[in-house]
């Protein structure tokens, strides 16, 4: 075990003082805006409190037991889990494929990179409203395409009736996934720079050993970028469990149709700030925290077999 040798003496003590001088603001902010609220949130989750007047009233685990019997709570967990299962793997797949394509000595790399990244910088509200228009069941352009291609009087008359997208109980989560996939250029940037960091001598060695494109991809590229895939998977899962803005803009908090888009955080927000049930919402927040924590640990644990770190410390921050 390596023991870090810290410098001793007066100079070291002075350096230590300066360290706390510089990180002091963060430490203060951490206590006031992060740690304090985390603990307060834990306490609130055992109380009944409307956040307006009076004090929180201790009610034990009632908020938690009520949530366990609340079908909307379970629905919201299910909606977010379904959305995560759909949007995270698809997002990673498309971003990675795009990055691989861009990495094939194509002309105008910079132009393509910019164009594919463009949707990612659209503010969420504007992007969501745009898709509300594109996915409009009657006047939306997507359904126009579907009808013209495979509708009753279409080019290939298969008689397909296009879905109602955001108003369709079966299609609402795939519609949200479509909105999130539009921003897949964000992941592409990260993968592209990871791909460019794979040493070329590895590919040369593999080629000499007779490996074709697919084998080089599977045995060189994937292992070399696996830490980045793990990182994007974890942040992707955490992010998709926290989806709020599109759901709020589209449904105004109702989770329409029939709670099929009642995302976890949407229900939390409605409970906290529209129904003033702070205690219940705090319990929801803590349960989310625990779910995210468990998922992160599971991913890190399961990935030990699949993720390759070049050196002991190389893959970590």
């Amino acid at each position: 075990m390596a023991v870090r040798i810290l410098p001793q003496g007066k100079a070291a003590r002075r350096e230590m003082g300066w360290f706390w001088f510089f990180v002091g603001p963060w430490v203060f902010g951490f206590f006031v805006f992060t740690l304090g609220p985390i603990l307060a949130s834990a306490y609130l989750s055992f109380t009944r409190y409307n956040g307006l007047r009076g004090n929180p009233k201790w009610i034990g685990i009632e908020n938690y037991t009520n949530l366990m019997e609340n079908p909307i709570f379970w629905k919201s967990l299910q909606v977010s889990a379904y959305y995560t299962l759909l949007s995270v793997p698809l997002g990673i797949f498309f971003s990675l494929m795009l990055a691989l394509t861009l990495n094939q000595r194509v002309p105008f790399l910079g132009v393509f990179r910019t164009l594919f990244y463009l949707p990612s910088i659209m503010p969420a509200v504007a992007a969501t409203l745009l898709f509300v228009w594109l996915l409009n069941p009657q006047f939306g352009i997507l359904n126009y395409f579907i009808r013209t291609l495979v509708g009753n009087d279409g080019l290939i008359p298969l008689g397909v009736e296009p879905p109602m997208w955001l108003q369709d109980a079966k299609w609402v989560i795939p519609s949200f996934t479509l909105i999130s996939l539009w921003g897949f250029g964000g992941g592409m940037l990260i993968y592209l720079s990871a791909l460019q960091g794979v040493p070329t001598h590895l590919y040369e060695a593999a080629t000499i050993d007779g490996a074709g494109y697919f084998k080089r991809f599977w045995h060189v590229t994937i292992p070399m970028i696996s830490p980045v895939i793990l990182f994007t998977t974890i942040t992707g899962v955490i992010g998709s469990f926290q989806v709020f803005t599109p759901a709020w803009v589209i449904t105004g908090g109702t989770g329409a149709p029939n709670y099929q888009s009642m995302f976890y955080v949407l229900y939390l927000f409605v409970n906290a700030f529209r129904r003033n049930r702070m205690g219940v919402a705090a319990a929801q927040a803590w349960l989310l925290f625990i779910v995210v924590l468990i998922l992160t640990v599971v991913f890190l644990w399961a990935s030990r077999r699949f993720v390759y770190y070049e050196s002991e410390s190389g893959g970590r921050f």
Binding site: F21, F22, Y117, A126, Q242, A272, M278, A285
Partner: protein
Amino acid sequence: MAEATSTQQYPQKTGLRALMGNQKYQQRALSIFCTVLLIVGALIILFPIGWMVSTSLKTRFEAIQFPPTWVPLNPQWHNYRDALLNPTNPFPRYFYNTMFYSLTVMVAEMASCAFIAYGFARLRAPGKDALFLLVLATLMLPSQVTLIPQYILFTKLHGLNFLGVDWINSYTPLIVPHLFGSSYLIFLLRQFYRGLPRDYEEAGLIDGANYFGIWWRIILPLSLPALGAVAILSFMFHYADFLGPLLYLNENAKYTLSLGLQQFRAPFGGTVYHLLMAASLATVVPPILVFFLAQRFFIQGIVVSGVKG
């Protein structure tokens, strides 16, 4: 003899087969295939933005007409005036509010993160690694856990008239937490600082400067590219921020663009898409401009913090 053995390795092929087997040709074919794929992909990805532009210039009737017209018959430029300059949705006001909010937070975050990151990057102290792990851990923390108590905290501060400013229905609660740094940007700057040579500090110390002087006079000027990345990431994030303003602002005149835009749907029953698209397009222009002007910083920022996670 040597030449003979080397040619033997490649069996003679003729015509197309020989061409297909050629490494150079394969590379060219792959490159062309990928380029075609990228052009098709880019057209699909950019289509929604094009459709947004097209709809924003149509009349109410033309916007919902079948079959749709790709290019507006008679571009209705006044749609922009109608959407942005009506008294119920004062977009110039929203724009001013959004700029005030995102630029203030941007400056606050640049200053605080540059300061804090220096401590984590260059100074040694017991417990530093553990503290930095805590910084990274807060990145993973769902913000909803702190949202409710923070809201209650600001309500209480408002009730106490703390520091004599409004803590509710104001930008104070949206700005103040950023004075103490943001984990993501601290992480980004720390990565950058660590790449700078240590000699600067040693030279500075020998010349009698203290660490604050070294940071202010040597490290900060050297880290302008990284600060550019921080500035743009921060600006873009807060320009688009929705949850914070939704929670803390409850007066039309104080709304940001995102709030105003969302509000815009209701009075028209969500059907006046040509005006909605005009307003949406107007709100996406500033971030797109910033992105094109400062793309290098932006991509650098995302790549540095994304890959080395």
